[in-house]
Amino acid sequence: MNGEPRSVHAYPMQRLLDVLRQELELTGTKEGCGEGECGACAVLVDGALVVSCLIPVAQAKGANIVTIEGVTADAGLRALQEAFLKCGGTQCGICTPGMILASVHLLSKNPRPTTDEIREGLSGNLCRCTGYLQILEAVAQVARA
């Protein structure tokens, strides 16, 4: 969990999302739909961007998981969070953790994405407040730097 070994007691079919938020008390990851559509619950599991509401915790056994709490601790990635703030990429904030995880994932695979590639890379994360453009600008700003 965010670089530290953790163990929990949980039913194997319990959603990873619930284990994160309840047993591990990491409430930064959010539930928006429970059906893998909105991306608010997005985390990294062994480097892959997944919707934790659709992952049974048994499937995550032994995996390296990164949540928004882990992103925050890593000094090198704070630029992304600053950019979100500066560009207006965050309004109500509920989609922000998932959106940042998706951005982290995108930039790790493609450090210099085009606007269209950013648009596509984030198209699994719904935002209802911003209309997306200021989020795309935040990611582009970090990519250019």
């Binding site: 928006g32 739909c33 059906e35 207006g88 309004q91 209802r128 911003t130 209309g131």
Partner: protein, 755 residues
Amino acid sequence: MESGRIVGTATPRKEGRDKVTGHARYIDDLTFPNMVYGATVRSGIPRGRIRQITFGPEVAWNEFVVVSAKDIPGNNYIALIDNDQPCLANGIVNHAEEPILLLAHPDRYALSQAVASVSIEYEPLTPILTIEESERRTEIIWGSDNVFKTFLIEKGDLDGVWGRADHIIEGEYFTGAQEQLYIETQGVIAAFDAEQGVTIWGSMQCPFYVHKALMVLFELPEDRIRVVQTETGGAFGGKEEYPSIIAAHAALLATKSGRPVKMVYDRAEDMAATTKRHPSRTRHRTAVSKEGKILGGEIEFVIDGGAYATLSPVVLSRGTIHAGGPYYWPSVRIRAKAVATNAPPHGAFRGFGAPQSLFAMERHMDRIARALKLSPAEIRRRNFLKPGQTTTTNQTIREPINLEKLLDRALELSDYQAKKQRFAKENKHSRRRKGIGMAAFLHGAGFTGSGERYLNSVVGVEAQCDGGVRVLVSSTEFGQGTNTVLSQIAAETLGLSYEDVTIAQPDTTEVPNSGPTVASRTAMIVGKLVASAALGLRQSLVAAGMLGEVSTAEEFRKACRNYVAQNGGLRCLARYEQPAGIHWDDEKYCGEAYSAFGWAVYIAEVTADLTTYGVSVDDFVAVQEVGRVLHPVLARGQVLGGVAQGIGFALYEKVEWRDGRMQNSQMTNYAAPTSSDMPPVRVHFEELGNEHGAFGAKGIGELPIDGPAPAIVNAVEDALGTSFNFVPLLPEGIFEAIAASADPAREEHSQSRVL
């Protein structure tokens, strides 16, 4: 416009750091000791009498707390306007998803099993499911005639107009329901204590609305109900009135169980059971001269309110007042009504009636243009309101607005003329047809007419012991920037730094009632009160001899510290006063409807694909006059967010109704725009000031959602040459219309517009 030191700049969002680090705590992130969970048993049919309720044998019911209507200590209704909506159904249900029973249990998973194990036997009654059925009155489901509210606006001499007209143009336009789809679902935690009474923490826009509703439900005095707004993940009107219901439910369970109760809806329940945008039908009949001037007309505007009145009278009001658009009507008759159906009650959603009536007006202007063989731009130019002219409610426009200039700017930014010509040529050789369309519109800021006087808002600014000040308002942050903008205003007014200002969490025991966070009123009206209260605070310090008339920021901070140290505290309140010259006649529905209007021209460029019948928005220009831009990043954010929701309203977001229930109550099959659906948007602001608003600001939150739908559907007509008079316009709708025009026998089927 003078440049501010803080107002007008992009200060950091006050609560932003917590949001980007995952530290912001929304209601579902909170757990209280001894807390249990609550769930709702809801009606499966749209209308009927409850015959029997059976609790399935497979559940250990002794572990559950069960609440029904008879457990309500006070009055079984959710206090709002008409007080007709039961908190819990008592023997009769009037809509699918109507709440009947409440259950509480420590295990969230056991709860959902239990809800499924309750079987309810009904004696079904014939439901009314559309506006037309409601009008036919074959069943009376509300009041004596199924009508929640009517309005009549009459201006000028309409009867003489028809004879003089060179053209009489008619049209009928429809808009469907739309789900607010805030990414954080409805949620509250309630606690009850014999001494303190009821406390609610939750996701909401209006803590004092919830407070009032609970006072009535529990028959408790003002000081025995406490409501606290927690970080709210989107609202858009969907958390204006609905939270009173979920709060009431959680509070009843908390009272009966003696434990804190958390109720958070899952997405399916939230979509199916809570409020949506009112569906509408608008009919226009317009008399136009051969020069293209509107001589007069009749407009009939009808909205579907669902089973209970909720806010329908006010939604109707706004839709009615905006029905004539930003045009000069020498004479007009607007008949409006809100009717009852057995759908879950519809409610507030950004725009609040205006997106509906403005969709019709702007589609109708293009229809008039075509009839007169004038361009869409020219027909609007010839009819735009000018300063000194009167609106449909006989309000004289005193703002120095120049709509032609906004239009010119929009045409220029969108390269309209060149594109229109190019598309006309290129479309001949392509199955991907391009089109460009416009919408011109307005949005009145603040509560209508005497509404702000009725709200009688109060705001406080308080000195802090560290020398800073704290803003006290019940106005809530839910992404739009309340915390940031009100802090900017206080800082600028007092000559302090932005960091010297904090803002209290809206808690009904801690803050005065600055009114609901709705109607695009927060920056303009509440902001102005914050400035007043701040000045009052300053005056108190001066009067106490602790501050000179002219002072530096450091002197001000020192004076605050001294005053608080000596006297324990200093709080200054400011109350709303209606500006002189605002006269509104509630009976005749005329006069100054709003102290200020935002004005806009939007232009959409689309591609309509004749292979997939899908429409994409490729480019968008949004030009608006908003008085004063208080924060450039936040203001642009409001426009972009509103445009995105407007795109959804136009092309993607369809509520599929069957037997009065939303069938597609999931994100899988209710399509909201993703980043892939959002075109580049060029945003341009004009700032002409506003004497009645904080630092010259007018409201900006809702204006942007009024324009995209008609601009897009106008663009689709430009692309395909086919007229569509309803939204949402899905590929199926386009296919039907094109197939019908190819085969006239299909015509009848294609007329059935989808709501």
